[in-house]
Structure formats: C-alpha cells, structure tokens
Amino acid sequence: MLYALMGLGLSLITGVLNIPNFAHGALFAVGAYFLVSVVGLLGNFWLGLLVAPLGVALLGLLIEWAGVRRLYAAGHDYQLLFTFGLALILNELIIVIWGPVGLSHLPPALLRGGVDLGFTFYPKYRLFVMVMAGLLVVATWLFLEKTRYGAIMRAGIENKEMVSLLGIDIHRLFTVAFALGAYLAGIAGALTAPIRGLSPGMGVDMLGIAFVVVALGGLGNLLGAIAAGLLIGIAQAVVAAYWTEASTVVIFAVMALVLLVRPQGMFGIR
C-alpha cells in the first residue's frame, strides 16, 4: 500500500507536469527525517505525522515555484538534470543535518506490539500503516474523482492547452499538483520511518520502486498505480519469505516480465 501511495504521488507529478521527477525519492526520505525531528521536538507522534508531510508539501511548493516552473518549456533532459541535482542536494543535506548513519524510530506506545488476527500474529503498527495508506489513497481518489479541482487536475493530465484555454490558471494547477505529490511522498516516508528505520539511501531505493509503479500503472492512472503498488508489494513479500536476498530484485524483475508481455504497462495506453 505504501508503494501505491508513492506511485500515486509520482504519477500525479509526472502526469500533470510532464516532467521526470527524480527528486521524488528524496522527498520521501525528507518526510521520514522530518517526522523524526518533529517527534523529537514535540514529543508527539501524531503531531509529527500531521506536520512532517505538510513540511514536505511546502518544500515541494518551493521547489516548483523556484525551479521546476522555469523548465516546462525545456526538454526532458534538463528537467531530469534539475530534479536529479535536487535529489543529490536533498540527499547530502540529510547526511549533513542528520548524519550518515541510519536512525531507527519507534512507533508510538499505542501501536507497539501485535494483534492476534486468529490465523496469524501481526504487528499493530504495520496494520495501522496499511489502514492509513488505504485511507489516503481513497481520499486522494475522492479528491480527484469527486471534487471540482480534482476534475480540473485530471483534465490537466489529458490536455493542458485545453485546460488553460478554458481560463484556468495552469501554473497554479501545476504548483498544487507538485505540492500534493510531494505531500503523498512525505507522508509515505513518515509512515515508513518506524517500520524500516531511516537511512540517507532510503530515498533512492524508493525512487526506483515508485518508477516501477508508474511504469506499470500508467501516468496519472490512479487505479493503475494502486494495482501496480499492490502487485509488486505482494511479489516482494512472497519472495522475501523464501529468498530474502532477492526481494528487492524481484520488484524490477516483475516489471521486466510484465513489460515483456504488455509493453504498454498493465493499463497503459501510451
């Protein structure tokens, strides 16, 4: 479900803005580190979970406003270089600020321990993450499908010229989409922190996965992102149970296999 969340955010950014966002993984990592700092400062996990992703969204807003905005007319190569440079900067800043050694972070007291589900014993926090991620995906879906602005955003994915011809401020739309995508990356990072711990490299690992989700699910395709996220999550879990070393590789192997059969992705049309 976390993969779906990451893929969804990236899918929004790439779909609406038509840029390859290589900084998406870095935003994910920043979300996790923000959570640790906010929790350390305020001593409250729930407040951290609220504030940290908003911080990332703000960062996204700033990035779009200061840099990405100037690059819509440039080729993908320069957009890529820009976001890649950004990823390097964020990654190194994490090392400078929080140190190169990984951190671990405990879930809040309420969610420690496990619950007996009858057939298996499951950690409470993981259950919580699943529910949270599910809720967020549903909320994003409702926003995109049921609200006016969501409809405008979907229209922006389909046809930008038409949207701006209809008198809608396309630049504001881009900014909002980028911030929303950054928010989703940030909250995915924040939720992950207590499960996997934190390390400066966490962003890059996640970036590859997010790309796989988008490549399989299709740009701007919400249901595709969810399905692809679930597919590779399950594939990874199954393989991890039998052959731990291969659990990361399998994500990309699944992608290669799917693309062999369906080059356009699972639901893709392009």
Binding site: A74, H76, D77, L80, N91, F211
Partner: protein, 305 residues
C-alpha cells in the same frame, strides 16, 4: 575533422597538467559519454541507465581478469560484448515506450542491475566493491606504469572517437538523426524505428562497456558506484554540460566534469551537494552546454567584427 589536431595536442599535454590517472579517467569518461551521446544527442533517446552497461562490463571483465588471468585485449573484447549484450536486453524492453516512460524504464532497469550487484556479494563484493583487478602486460609493455596505461587509454579513445565519427556520418547515423527529428516520418519512409533505436542502444552499450573495463583496470577495483544511478546521472550531466548536439560535446563535458568532481571532492566530503548545485545552475542558466555557449560567443564576436 578540424578538431583532431586539438585532441591530439590535448592527449599529449594532459598527463603533464594533471596526474596520468586522472587524465586517463577523463578519456575513459569521454568514451562513456560518446556512447551515451549516440542515444541522447543523435537519436534523441534520454537513457538514464548507462551505468548498467558500464558496470556490468566492468564486473564481468574484472572478474575474469582477476580469477582467470585473461589478457588485456580479451578483457576489452569481453567488456564490449557484455556492454552490448546488456544494452540489447535493456533496450529491448525500453525502446517500445517513449518520453517519460522511456526515461523511467532505463532508470528502473538500472536499479535492477544495481541490486543484483549489491546482493551478489560473493562475486561483486557488494558495497565494498570488487578489488584486485589487475592490468596484465601486453607484448612486454607493462601497463602497471601509469604513463603506459594512459597512452593505451588515449589510443583507444582516439579509436573510439574515429569510429563514432564514422557511425554518425554513415547512413545509419543519418537514419538515427531522422528518427530524432521526426519518428513518424522515419517510419513512413520505411525505417522500423524501434529496431534502429535498439541498434543505437547496443552500439552505445558497447562503448560504455569498453569504458567500464578501462575504468576497472585503471583503478584496480570495481566499486558499487560503477553500476549505480549516480554514474548514469554523471555521464548524462557531462554530456549535457559539454553540449549533446555535437560529437565533441561529451569530450568537453568529460573534461569539465572530472575536473569539477576531482577538485570539489578534495574540498569537502559532501561534494555531491555542490555537484547538485552545479547541475541546477547549469540547467537554469547555461542550457546548451559549453559547445553552445562557445558558438554563441563566436557568432557574437563575428557580428561585431
């Protein structure tokens, strides 16, 4: 053609300005860049996974050099073959998509190879890299001497440049440029675009493979970074900073990039931060790279005169 004297002079002068190892690294990176530029500059394909071919070749050839004591030329041949073959695999999956999907796929497949290298510690050494790659002597020439190895690398670079020049000017090169300019029209004229893109991939991969083996022999180690996305990003950056539209762009870019990273890494351990800043400055203010900037200055001075 007019650039050849300049290149020969630089080959002769360079090792006396910087250490031969760094001079060799510049030419190796230039070979790597030439391979990418065939895709990026001439075919219009932005591949963000070139280190797949670079790293795979370095690992395979390095492993054979280390454990089976093969000679220099067999190692190079194997590296070129591995580079081309891995490019064939990756390219087959990637050329069917275009635009953003293409970029993301090359990156994702790069990650696939990266994680294989990361986990397969018994062969690759994982995070520690694969040390102990030798530089075997050839016909009595001891390549352990830095200068001898430098000259060897330079000669191979000159050969690569000549070959790439021939490729770009050949009918194949023209077809690739046609695909870059207008893929639909190239298809309409009768060229099956995916097949030619794949061909460009394999040629680019072979150049990357050559660079990868030379790199492994230069430093005696295959670090994990050789196959990581950072290397892919660096070669894209070097090519763009030099100017992707020209044959010589990647060479200039390689100079600037190696010089930048060597001088910055001495200053601060967190130099990738500065590198990131450099990327952004180039993107926001110097699009087109050094070659483009030079052309603009040149045209400007011509107008004034």
């Amino acid at each position: 053609m007019r650039a050849w004297p300049l290149i020969l002079v630089s080959i002769c002068v360079l090792p006396f300005i910087v250490r031969p190892a760094i001079a060799a690294e510049i030419w190796i990176f230039a070979i790597f860049g030439l391979g990418l530029n065939l895709l990026l500059g001439y075919t219009g394909l932005l591949s963000f996974g070139q280190s797949t071919f670079f790293g795979s070749a370095a690992y395979v050839a390095g492993y054979l050099l280390k454990h089976y004591a093969i000679g220099v030329f067999p190692a190079l041949g194997i590296g070129i073959a591995v580079g081309g073959l891995s490019a064939l695999l990756v390219g087959y999956l990637c050329v069917q998509r275009s635009g953003l999907y293409f970029i993301m796929l090359t990156f994702a497949l790069n990650q696939l190879f990266y994680f294989i290298a990361y986990q397969w510690t018994s062969v690759t050494g994982g995070e520690d890299g694969m040390p102990g790659v030798p530089r075997p002597a050839f016909l009595g020439v001891d390549f352990r001497d830095p200068m001898a190895y430098y000259l060897f690398v330079s000669a191979l670079f000159a050969l690569s440049l000549w070959l790439m020049q021939r490729i770009v000017q050949s009918p194949l090169g023209k077809i690739l440029q046609g695909i870059r300019e207008n893929e639909v029209r190239a298809e309409a004229v009768g060229y099956h675009a995916p097949r030619f893109k794949l061909l460009a991939f394999v040629i680019g991969g072979a150049f990357s493979g050559l660079a990868g083996v030379l790199y492994a022999m230069l430093f005696g180690i295959v670090p994990l970074e050789a196959i990581s996305f950072v290397t892919s990003g660096n070669v894209v950056f070097a090519t763009l900073i030099g100017g992707s539209g020209s044959l010589y762009g990647p060479i200039i870019g390689s100079f600037v990039f190696i010089w930048l990273s060597e001088s910055m890494s001495v200053v601060w351990a967190r130099w990738p931060l500065l590198l990131g800043v450099a990327f952004i400055i180039v993107v926001l203010f110097f699009r087109g790279g050094v070659v483009e900037a030079w052309n603009r200055i040149w045209r400007f001075s011509r107008q004034r005169a």
